[in-house]
Symmetry: C2
Subunit: 338 residues, 2 copies
Amino acid sequence: MNKKTIGVALLGCGNVGSGTFRVLTENAGIIAKRAGADVRVKAILVRDLCKDRDAGIPKDLLTDDFSAILDNPEIDIVAELMGGLEPAVSYMKQALQAGKHVVSANKAALARSGEELTKNAGAQGLMLRYEAAVCGAIPVMNAISTALAANEITGIRGILNGTTNYILTRMDEDNAPYAAVLKDAQDKGFAEADPTGDVEGHDAANKLTLLIAAGFGRYIRPDDIEREGITGVTEDDLRKAAAENAKIKLVATAVREKDGIRARVRPEFLPADHPLSSVRNEFNAVLISCNMADDIFLQGRGAGPLPTGSAVAGDILEIAACIARGTEKNALPTWRLQ
Amino acid sequence: MNKKTIGVALLGCGNVGSGTFRVLTENAGIIAKRAGADVRVKAILVRDLCKDRDAGIPKDLLTDDFSAILDNPEIDIVAELMGGLEPAVSYMKQALQAGKHVVSANKAALARSGEELTKNAGAQGLMLRYEAAVCGAIPVMNAISTALAANEITGIRGILNGTTNYILTRMDEDNAPYAAVLKDAQDKGFAEADPTGDVEGHDAANKLTLLIAAGFGRYIRPDDIEREGITGVTEDDLRKAAAENAKIKLVATAVREKDGIRARVRPEFLPADHPLSSVRNEFNAVLISCNMADDIFLQGRGAGPLPTGSAVAGDILEIAACIARGTEKNALPTWRLQ
């Protein structure tokens, strides 16, 4: 079925939902040219129809009825941008069951249900993509799943969480204590009111699970990843690192060892010449070590409405291009099944 | 047509050809799993059947008869790894005409004939991919063509030539004059006996043409790119830069301006905090500025048999995966046609 208009439903209209809407509408001309079809947002699922929204969000697209999205034959792609485990996972399953391709930015949900969702998608001949779930705009899932796919990945090291990198950078460069920097980050919207998920390394562990599934074809649950957050990092630690011309960063690491994959998230001393040491503030970066390509380093914005929206829209565009050409089922799954 | 074995012909058995052969054979298990089919080299085109080859190259694969490759129905993909303009361009055209998908690492040929070859491929429903032609193992063409495709690209800046970056780095760090470093680079195999193509910026201009076609959808001939090489860079220039905590790098730049794309290759002062300034020796890097994703920085090995072979094999793998799934014609063309 070659189509001229590809319909999209966005689940959620928070930061990522509204950012994705903006990318899809402001860049609609570019996207249509590349996809070979118009890509139109047909519905945006929200919990509260009466809540104030960004001025750019058309009210008539809002709905609180998910079943209407499932039943709408004009909707080809469902983009899950709600976050959290439920109802996000159930909604993705139902969307696949209803024959919709699925894009998601939800690392927590995918780190727990990505393998099952990938199998469901494969069984239905549908695509499941989630570039935005790992490091926002940085095309790391794409690189691992396609351009570097002919390599055995030997190691992945990354700064996968912008909030903690911002805090550590400010502590280091402003000689400020953890608590003061955290409060400043919360005031600026870089850290949540309850920062546990970021500062204890849970968010980075979720992303590392997804990188491991894509790069090594193994599933390691986020809870099974050795994990230490940044709450124990003191100004004194940072001064000691600076004296050695090093930085302290929250580094997520997965390495192939003889008996399997070793995975951990923890604060590490990085010497000045390590590519990850120069990644400042809220930026993310990933170093992918390959048996043929050697080390590939990717850096960019790991969060924010537009960078994350860019990644969601990129996934939507690729699926739309396949639908437009009548070549669905083509994509290499991002989650490498054994 | 779903196939269980995908046949590949390599045109050329030099550095890139033998590197590609090694990637395809040593990583054959990984590639088969990802592609969903075995990928087998069925023939390697060489000029001289009697020349000594890498020990790993099976003699029975060598042929000097291109028409036998065209006529072989077991060959699905032709990888052009010969370099130079002719017969490379004619061979790619003939391969497409014979219904073979084409992969190439040949920046000079693609910078001149990429648009025509892309049209030929499109008309035949075939894929033309050339990740390896720009910055070897760095997945930059892939990032621009797919993950970042929903963006308007506003600028591209890169260190696209490893030889000149090696020379400038050694001049800077060893306080050595151009001529001595060039000779050392030639002795080590990092520079060719006639270094003109590298040191005068022609190689970087070829790659910039390919980045512009992918990122901006415009064709600017390499000869129309403002170009200055590194032969005029003196030790004194580097000392002055160092005094300002800056580096001198051969930078290829393409920026979107009101009246079109402005493109140039020239030595530039880069302050210490510019991401390109820390790219040392033979490494390549590209900074892609996007209207939604902001800046994405990619760094890695831009040359060498295995890194380049990794990129060629990645392209072959993606095409093989499409053939195996019976979903050819799916790929977004790397060269963005207007």
